[in-house]
Amino acid sequence: MAALAFLDRENTVAPPNYHRWLIPPAALAVHLSIGQVYAFSVFKQHLVAHFDTSLTPIGIIFSIAIVMLGLSAAVGGTWVERNGPRMTMVVSALCWSSGFGIGALGIATDQLWLLYLGYGFLGGIGLGLGYISPVSTLIKWFPDRPGLATGLAIMGFGGGALVASPLSNSLMAYYNGSPENIRGDAMVRTFVTLGILYLVVMLLGAFTVRVPSADWRPTGWSPATTAGHALQTGDNVSAANAIRTPQFWLLWTVLFCNVTAGIGILEQASPMIRDFFRTVTFEEAAGYVGLLSLCNMAGRFVWSSLSDVIGRKNIYMLYLGLGALLYLLVAIAGTASVGLFVALTGAILSFYGGGFATVPAYLKDLFGGYQVGAIHGRLLTAWSAAGVAGPLIVNAFADSGLRAGKEGPDLYTVSLYTMVGVLVVGFIANLLVRPVHARFHEPVPETDHPLARVEG
């Protein structure tokens, strides 16, 4: 058991003068690895052929993973705060890589349920724990720039698919001897290779991560600096108390609306551009999906970093307010040109990514850094809910449009206007966010209060 003590929070405290820019690669290593889940679609058609089934049973693997992501982040958040980032990253790495191993076994033995259990259930737990593991650590290292810090980490989740998609295709083609008609054994080897690769990269991240000592502060920064800004508090709220505040549920609504609107496009991107423009080929549509992923990733870093300057509430006004206008423009003028359509939807997807990356910093502003990882975990249930609602809205309206004899862009008109409404709801929820009432704050001895300490 002594060897496991290396994983404990107290053994990850950084020595004095440890440079904080040595921490972000640990977070990026974990998020780039688990971000592979967004590239799961590269396996779908091959798995359908291998199991001789339809798309729906294969799609369930991804759905289980995303549901488990939200549940494990919500349930495991407090455990993550207590045990620290290194222990969490190691558990996440073991779950995520085991998920690939068990999934490979399922393909090799033609047992689809093993993919549900492995990649879906176990891998999903790895996703949830890995997603929240570096967030509160980075916020503690960058109390002066929390938006930049969380944007950097969560950008990795968006970038994971960019890496995994071409890598998985290359590996399958290599093991298969050809990119066509991918055999089961080539997928097994690809799963095992990815599992080992992600295990190594995530463990490197776990060994690299450090938490700052309790009295550590960036040079020239004091808690009073941020506590003076609107909505930013020098006090702390526990995860148990946070979910009793209206602010938590307003932010839940904000995240739900932002993600619902983004997923609506993300999930239907390829058929949508082809319905809008008959001249776009399947290959061009695939290129468009890649471009949207780039916008999603860039938005996570750029918009979240900008939130440190203009404030969290203002940046969500931009995501939701301008997002609604852009959706309206897609509905009204989306068919004018491919370039305009790509630019509008690319901007919407950058706001989608920005919404994910900025929310931990928003939570830190409102609830303090005490249990921000656990609160973030609970908030991610909005993601699971939006993951169901977004595609449901777009698919249901498109199906009813088809039944009514509509075609092309007309299939999406009602969905697009619905998304405008969803974003307006999120905009209003964000407008209503006010500082958390003092009755929810953790008791702090007078001499330990950050303002008391700074001001004497």
């Binding site: 020595p15 440890y18 440079h19 040595l22 921490i23 690669p25 640990a26 990026l28 290593a29 780039l32 990795g156 970038g159 698919a161 960019l162 890496v163 995994a164 998609s165 071409p166 890598l167 990269v201 490197l204 991240g205 060994f207 690299t208 450090r210 290959e283 061009e284 695939a286 290129g287 468009y288 890649g290 471009l291 992923s293 780039l294 990733m297 491919v338 790509v342």
Partner: protein
């Protein structure tokens, strides 16, 4: 068991973190280049 001093452990930590920076930036560059090539070449004609 280990007779490595704090300064040696610190140097190893720094070296590992710098190595990981290289790994993640190389990974991101690979992903961005692949997506950019596919998207821009295809959409650009």
């Amino acid at each position: 068991m280990s007779d490595h001093g704090p300064s040696e452990r610190r140097s190893a930590s720094v070296a590992l973190a710098l190595f990981l920076w290289v790994v993640v930036l190389a990974g991101l560059a690979y992903g961005v280049a692949a997506a950019f090539t596919t998207a821009v070449v295809l959409i650009g004609g």
